[in-house]
Subunit: 357 residues, 2 copies
């Protein structure tokens, strides 16, 4: 069932984003509020929202900016955070997540956004959108705060799969490079391969193989390969794209996030310590607020699934309106530049099994 | 050749630390300065220093606190940061690193400290000290700043080996538990196994196997197994010991260190931003300094090699006097409680191949 909450305008530059209104921890109100924030900032963005029609339409009706820019597709089922990906693949038809991906599959929207269960979202995206030719393992890429000029590095894979062989790592390098070029406007991104040391003789066998494969591709594909990099380079300025397997990448982002939170909490304690430091924190408030905004994880909210016939943005499960609007902003940017087509062209340029050569 | 720089006192509580005076980036002066800091703080600590006799004795002679508390053992060779472990094992006899380990092997010192090349130090330690019965892969454990009451969690392995099977992970759990009990005074440490999710069905095969092995040992060995933990828990308060393979652990500590540095740099920028924030930073200076001291990596400087017949503390290559004295403090504490014997008893309590059962 499809309910139109207002007349959608005809517009050449229209970007249509498919949004799973359910999966988030904060419920559909936070997600609709995030759409509202985005709609007010970007007049070209339109939405297809997926969830129980009556509930979602009522939430949309309260937001003036969304009038005439939202279609609600009724989907009563919800994929929960506890559902196992294997079950979801079998039983999720009719859920808001399934419906959100379906809108990309049938061409009604360019990019899908969901705050739901990552494993389930990746499993469903793979089944419904299918992998790009030449890609064996899709990857999730995130923007990690860094001391680079653009303020972020691309890190992938952060958890689509727990394993990656040398050929997968080569594809990750190409997909990450394409994301950095199109998403961060870097004409010739610098790519590094994550290892425990920078010497060529170090590390696991598949990393040494991947080193050679990626090196071979730097000139034909138009990037600079800086070789092996270490954990500290994820937030550094030695390269723009860091390639690793999904197990290591997932541990790395969560360790980094935890450590940043610990430093932040200790800082707050330090400022509460004496009357003088409490006064100082008042004076420094505008600067600290600017800093917080700069490193606020909600403002770079969104892992992008790379390697599929269609782009899916995974937002944090706990995202609030700011977090959701940030994921939508990223989705809109990727839709605008027709990222899926560019990525497909990039990965398809390689033989199906480079490794076999 | 052995040179005595003064009369060593007879003392019941004497703790003798063997120190490689060469390997560090800052040269022997920083290392002798670190010994000086430690000697002034702890009257029970005595040193055997390894390096070129004339050079080291001259440095020692300038430090009043070291008079009568230092023996210098002449070693003219130096293991550099670029030497490969395999070469070092063949050609390092007569180096300061070799000599420092030898003093633990022959019983003249309880614990060795070196700022040198980690791979070479581990390879030499394994050859000269040998692995404890029941240990297949030794591990390097570090104290990672955390929101726990004790302020630190034990993380291992952070880079002794790039692989670990289920049985290795079980030994890491036992060794880490013993380190937390003896080094952090936790009678019943909580142990977690690092993974990409907390559900039991997730992760690599060896992790699922290790999960069962560690769970079985929690009651006989006297710790609490909290199950799978994630990257964010390394700095959290869910557990006291985090067990992982050396590849993942190494990436995690370097990612955490890099991210903490990034946040610190951004904070300094924020405080320079306006005249008001510069004034605030002056007022907050004492509190910020206290914070810096609390999270200063130099103050928790020292990875401990676990699983050998003898304890070796690896200090940061770039450690200054503060860093070196912190590594010596850790070494002295471990020597004082006769940690090597306690650890050996702990690991030997298990059948040689628990996994095979």
């Amino acid at each position: 069932m499809t309910a139109q909450t207002g007349q959608t305008q005809s517009h050449d530059e229209r970007i249509i984003i498919s949004v799973d209104a359910m999966g988030g921890d904060e419920g559909p109100a936070a997600i609709v509020a995030g759409c509202d924030v985005s709609a007010r900032k970007n007049p070209d963005v339109f939405f297809i929202l997926h969830g129980p029609e009556a509930e979602i339409s009522a939430l949309v009706a309260r937001r003036k900016s969304l009038q005439g820019r939202c279609e609600v597709r009724d989907a009563t089922g919800v994929v929960t955070m506890d559902d196992k990906p294997s079950q979801v693949v079998r039983n999720s038809k009719g859920t808001s997540m399934w419906s959100a991906i379906e809108a990309v599959r049938d061409g009604s929207a360019s990019v899908a956004v969901s705050c739901g269960n990552t494993g389930a979202l990746m499993a469903l995206s793979m089944i419904r959108l299918r992998k790009l030719p030449g890609v064996n393992r899709p990857a999730i890429a995130v923007l990690y705060p860094s001391s680079n000029q653009q303020g972020f590095n691309v890190l992938l894979d952060v958890g689509a799969d727990i394993k990656a062989d040398a050929d997968d790592l080569l594809r990750y390098a190409l997909m990450g490079m394409s994301y950095a070029r199109n998403g961060l406007d870097l004409p010739r991104p610098r790519v590094g391969l994550l290892n425990v040391g920078t010497e060529e003789h170090k590390g696991r066998t598949e990393l040494k193989e991947a080193f050679d494969l990626i090196k071979e591709q730097q000139d034909p594909a138009g990037f600079d390969f800086v070789g092996f990099v270490e954990g500290g380079d994820i937030s550094g300025d030695l390269c723009d794209v860091i390639v690793t397997d999904g197990f290591t990448g997932n541990v790395a982002i969560k360790t980094g996030e935890g450590t940043a939170n610990l430093v932040g909490n200790r800082l707050r304690e330090a400022f509460r310590y004496t009357p003088l430091s409490r006064l100082a924190s008042l004076l420094a408030y505008p600067s600290l607020r600017r800093l917080k905004k700069k490193i606020d994880p909600r403002r770079v909210n969104g892992g992008v699934f790379l390697g599929l016939n269609g782009t899916v943005v995974k937002s944090h499960g706990s995202a609030d309106a700011t977090g959701v609007s940030s994921a939508i902003k990223l989705a809109a940017q990727l839709a605008h530049i027709q990222f899926t087509d560019k990525l497909a062209a990039r990965v398809a340029g390689l033989p199906a099994e480079e490794k076999a050569q």
